[in-house]
């Protein structure tokens, strides 16, 4: 009986809602609810300036979460985000110290360092078959060690280049921050890759069952390695943008991005077991997390309360729709 009621309700819904993933709809519903709660507190929550500002802050997390999503779709995880972000930012700023050529190559160099970290992860996971959470924790520790040696234990004094600052805070299109444009471009590229290319098909296939993907002729190990390299590169690019936003790089700047990036992907309905999820969900997750952060800071919630609320929100949302199937 309940299924027929469900079907009847489904029949009344518009087509785009009927096809939508319930998780994505829930996430967008939560965004609307958060905005309404916020607007009760202060009317400026619904002003375009505030929303655009939130979108700009969200775009840093969005770039990082894009890479995380690619890896999670494979059924893996990338815990090297904190120091990939920091390495990208610090190496980008460091390159700027080497004359005009260094300034010009600062952004590519920072991203390249992230790609290298991702490549080590990818080789470990794909070819050496080391569990991804272990190898990424290890490369995170190595990246941290390298940066500590490089900086001599102090925060680097190098500041971001003008190009970085322009990317993060400038306006190419009047009224729309560049960071948002960059996120939109990266997001569009990701959607294209996931839905229109063989690589994207392979990612979903491997996430569902790597054996089956291998037997159907996909070079699964190469795909996994590339996905990790892309994730590392995007983390580092996120770091470069953050350095531009803050005008300088700092050692612990990536720590605040590991949990939110995983949370954004998972809250957006991407299965943590891999193989299922849409980029639209990740966008919803990123905006949801950013709004939650913003509202908590407007309410002047201390760091302790924020951590607790994060943890509780993630556990509750996962319990609602992220559970593994009951196989018995």
């Amino acid at each position: 009986v309940s299924s027929t009621i469900k079907e009847r309700i489904a029949d009344r819904l518009p087509a785009f809602l009927r096809r939508a993933d319930p998780a994505v709809v829930t996430a967008f519903g939560c965004i609307v609810a958060l905005l309404l709660v916020g607007s009760l507190y202060s009317s400026s929550f619904l002003s375009p300036e505030y929303l655009l500002q939130q979108l700009k802050v969200a775009s840093f997390l969005g770039v990082i979460a894009t890479g995380m999503m690619l890896v999670i779709l494979l059924g893996q995880i990338d815990l090297s985000v904190p120091w990939s972000v920091a390495t990208g930012a610090m190496m980008g700023c460091a390159a700027a110290a080497f004359g005009p050529a260094g300034v010009a190559l600062a952004i590519p160099f920072g991203v390249l360092c992230g790609v290298l970290i991702g490549l080590v992860n990818g080789i470990g996971v794909a070819y050496l078959r080391i569990p991804s959470m272990i190898i990424t924790l290890a490369t995170n520790a190595v990246a941290q060690g390298l940066m500590v040696v490089y900086t001599g234990g102090f925060s680097p004094q190098d500041s971001a280049t003008a190009a970085m600052r322009y990317l993060a805070t400038g306006f190419l299109i009047p009224g729309v921050p560049n960071a948002v444009v960059i996120w939109a471009l990266i997001g569009a590229a990701m959607v294209f890759v996931l839905t229109r290319t063989g690589f994207g098909r392979a990612v979903y296939g491997i996430g569902n069952r790597e054996r089956a993907a291998y037997l159907s002729g996909i070079d699964t190990r190469r795909v996994v390695m590339i996905a990790f390299a892309v994730s590392g590169g995007l983390s580092a690019f996120g770091g470069v943008l953050l350095a531009g936003y803050a005008s300088k790089a700092a050692q612990s700047m990536g720590d605040a991005y590991l949990l939110p990036s995983i949370a954004a992907v998972v809250l957006g309905g991407t299965s943590i077991l891999g193989g299922r999820g849409s980029y639209l969900g990740t966008v919803a997750g990123v905006i949801l997390i950013t709004l939650l952060q913003s509202i908590l800071s407007v309410l002047q919630m201390p760091e302790a309360g924020r951590q607790i609320i994060y943890g509780v929100v993630i556990v509750v949302m996962l319990l609602l729709y992220g559970r593994a199937p009951a196989d018995r």
Partner: protein, 326 residues
């Protein structure tokens, strides 16, 4: 095969870890300016025991084929709690110790409940609960501070008969009284069986859920004992995010060095203890060889990377390529 050869094959990881530790410790004491004295041993023991307790906690979860990324945060939380509660008259102190251990058990039980009965992935679930535990620790100690019953602290970090470090004795007692009975009980075997092959264990009627739940809960207890000892060494409580993360990371390294399989079902907490002691000694080697302390994080990271990559040697034994994809 004779019985002792089976035993040897089973304990290979543990014995290897013991060997690495003894070898490293000999190099360490031989190059230490003070040499092999009770003082040097006591300092090394006190540092190693902290990591050893957290490594035992990690082992309990890893043998069920899970992972606990919140052990470091439980360690911090119980440290902060102990800096409030473990003070005053002997009776109050004793109650405080019991309360701290109970909170550790509760944290472990919450992890277990979410992972087993909530059917969430251990990685994400424990990252999230780790954030909660860290938040509570920060509420308890927004700034480093607090105090501890110094008589108890000095007694537990000192030496017995001015030779044997007390902390090592407590570690041995904890292993003998909690780990050994657990690993030989029905629940302990269920935890191993669940990690080895959950489906087969279920088919043979092993109580896998209760076994895994017991493992997660006891992991919280061991992390809490570690947190208590941290308070005894430092006399304060501090909610330092980086330190909690480092302990989680090092516990995984210790478990791997100690011969515990990250895929579950193999290894022992005793191996992890030696893994932890060896890991600490390797870190301290830099100190006796007069390296710049700045190199220590890099050195430890590389040890971790090499240790986890050693697991890849199992690939050479794989005959069918499909076995790559578990």
């Amino acid at each position: 095969m004779k019985d002792w050869r089976y035993w040897l094959a089973e304990q290979r990881g543990t014995l290897l870890a013991l060997g690495i530790f003894v070898f490293m410790f000999i190099i360490y004491t031989a190059n230490h300016p003070a040499g092999f004295t009770a003082n040097v041993v006591q300092t090394a023991a006190n540092k190693g025991v902290l990591l050893a307790f957290v490594a035992i906690a990690q082992t309990l979860v890893v043998i069920t084929a899970g992972i606990d990324l919140s052990v470091g945060m439980i360690f911090l939380l119980t440290n902060c709690l102990a800096s409030w509660l473990v003070v005053g008259a002997p009776m109050e102190t004793a109650l405080g110790v019991v309360a701290v251990l109970a909170v550790g058990l509760a944290c472990g039980a919450l992890n277990g409940a979410i992972v087993i009965y909530g059917r969430l992935q251990p990685i994400v679930a424990t990252i999230a609960t780790g954030a909660i535990y860290f938040g509570i620790a920060l509420l308890l100690r927004p700034f480093p501070g607090g105090s501890v019953n110094e008589d108890l602290a000095d007694a537990l970090t000192g030496r017995i008969f001015s030779v044997v470090p007390t902390s090592i004795v407590v570690l041995a007692l904890a292993v003998l009284l909690i780990w050994v009975p657990f690993s030989r009980s029905v629940l302990g075997r269920a935890a191993y069986a669940a990690g080895s092959s959950e489906v087969a264990a279920y088919m043979s009627g092993v109580p896998i859920r209760r076994g895994k739940f017991a493992a997660y809960t006891l992991a919280g207890l061991f992390a809490a004992i570690g947190g208590l000892f941290l308070t005894f060494f430092t006399y304060t409580g501090e909610a330092a995010y980086a330190s909690g993360n480092a302990y989680t990371l090092f516990s995984i390294a210790s478990v791997v060095l100690g011969g515990v399989s990250l895929f579950g079902g193999r290894g022992s907490a005793i191996g992890a203890v030696f893994g932890a002691l060896a890991f600490r000694t390797i870190g301290d080697l830099l100190f006796v060889f007069d390296f710049d302390p700045l190199w220590q994080p890099l050195f430890q990271g590389i040890i971790l990377l090499v240790a986890v990559s050693l697991g890849a040697f199992a690939l050479f034994r794989v005959r069918n390529r499909l076995e790559w994809f578990l």
